[in-house]
Amino acid sequence: MKLYEYEAKEIARKYGLPVPDGYPASTPEEAYEIAKRLNCEVAIKSQVLVGRRGLAGGIKFAKTPEEAREMATRLLGSLIRGVPVEKILVERKACISREYYLSLTVDRSTRSIALLASTLGGVEIEELVKEHPEALMRINIDPSIGIKPYMARWIAEFFGLGKDFWGKLWNFIDSMWRIMRDLDAELVEFNPLVLTCDNDLLAVDAKIIVDDNSLYRHKEFLEKAFREYSELEALAKQHGFSYVELEGNIGILCNGAGLTMATMDLVKLFGGEPANFLDIGGGARRERVKEAVKILLKHPKVKVLLVNIFGGITRCDEVAAGIVEALEEIGSTKPIVVRLLGTNEEEGRRILEENKIPMYNELKEAVLKAVELSKG
């Protein structure tokens, strides 16, 4: 789950990290009040969970409270990369002398936490470090050992900062580490982390991503868990599905990410176009299958539904029963192609046969049939 910049900065502040003075606002009037209170030139930043918002016009500056109100009016309700701006962050504009990049993130391949520091802070960081690998320093940290003070000295040296920054950088990485651990975060990123004109460090942007699997132990985030998704995606997530919206007309329902992607690949390979795909995950019972079938069949873009289930922890009889119940409930006339194999396969076949739903054994046949129906 991604946190908004203003939330990430509130957390950073709570952990003793320097961030610009500022507050979130939802109306131009609030923006005016905040700017008045700050009594300086302000940055007005759209609070959206998409990258490169600055390049998309999502960040403005204002010298007076009146100007802040005007910029806020322009930003609030506008679309940044397709996402509506509902909140803005109004904060003291920083006087920047140098920009750095600093983050902690989970590095899956080494099963460690990567501390990344760069002298090329800013939005183009990943492109820049590809061309200038020498501008990136990476320290891999054993998660059970954690960060150590020497790392702050390494970063200072790398950034070309003197001894008086050792303590400040230690404060940064120590707090970042504690945020990672306390919040079960998979990313804590300051980009840019700046050296201000008066020679101090300031986190001008902050990004925190909390691990979705850990939300149950963070009640404060749990209630906001689905906000970054579309309505349909959120509904699917609540049921424990992975759902992705695409452009075509074949609805795909599978169990397991790999099989779902493979089925989508096959549909495309045979000339069909998926409307969406939905992975019901492992061990889905009839109730969840029913909800999944309903979500897909009710979707206006879906002309044919292709169900491809290979039962392991998921049981074919439960899947068949869920399909039958969904069809009874919504009375859809859209064609449905079912391919069912694995655990309790015979039971599943019997249930489908009793309800006159054709069942396929071979994936190739099922995909070809679905593609054919999608073109009819």
Binding site: G51, Y101, S103, T105, V106, D107, R108, S109, R111, S112, I113, A114, L116, I125, E126, V129, K130, D142, P143, S144, M180, R181, D184, E186, L187, E189, N191, K207, I209, D211, N213, S214, R217, C254, N255, G256, A257, G258, L259, M261, A262, M264, D265, L266, K268, L269, G281, G282, G283, I309, F310, G311, G312, I313, T314, L341, G342, T343, E345, K364
Partner: protein
Amino acid sequence: MAIIIDKNTRLLVQGITGKEGSFHTKLMLEYGTKVVAGVTPGKEGQQVHGVPVYNTIKKALKKHPEINTSIIFVPARFTMDAVYEAIDAGIEKIIVITEGVPLWDELMFVTHARRHGVVIVGPNTPGVISPGKAKVGIMPGHVFKEGSIGVVSRSGTLTYEISREIVRVGFGESTVIGIGGDPVTGLDFIDVYKMFLEDPETNAIVIIGEIGGDAEERLAHYIRKHGLEKPVIAYVAGMTAPPGKRMGHAGAIISMGMGDWASKKRAFEDVGVPVARTPWEIGELLRKYLVK
């Protein structure tokens, strides 16, 4: 021989009284796996399909010192504790079926296990099956057949699909192992690849990858360094997947352009590993490479 599990496997089921734990205990017993004991705190004295249940692994081991492998079905929030208990009790192979385990929990117990030389398969894995010998997992046993192809996968159900194709063209599997679908797993492709190389019963290796991460590229890199000692065939799901949502800049910096289908296909083909475009093409490629 097979890898990780074989006919000498003596299994403990952690979370045996739960819905999945008990159902799959029954299926594993039916397959012929020697399930000797189960653990669910507070349920000692019960039996699940004839398997005795204990409160602690310590007690289970005292009564059944032959236990050498554990399979974990406990809910995600108790998984870390269950893994630590198994490691502390001295169990050497732990198969973690549970999905949805918190990332930091995985990081902590996986690094702890590796430091202690304990093999962890998963989390979020279908498990391991050495057909005809033992099944420690949730996969449908009848799909697989004893043979000489080693299969390693990041996926669950797609593994069943491809294993079925392997059987259909007349081969069978030495061992099929799902390393798990989570960002952090106990074993990775390289670990399992090395095990298969050392297994005299494995003549060829099938790798089932997915887009995302760099596990496939790292295996290809390893093969480049050490040479291709047995025939390897790959399949990578997600050829037509839309580009995923970005995870901050750090994700992009770390992956450095790896992770998409084209990158993985190129990495494999560069080291002489053919990449099948459909699950059934794996069968055709195996025939081509193995039947002279």
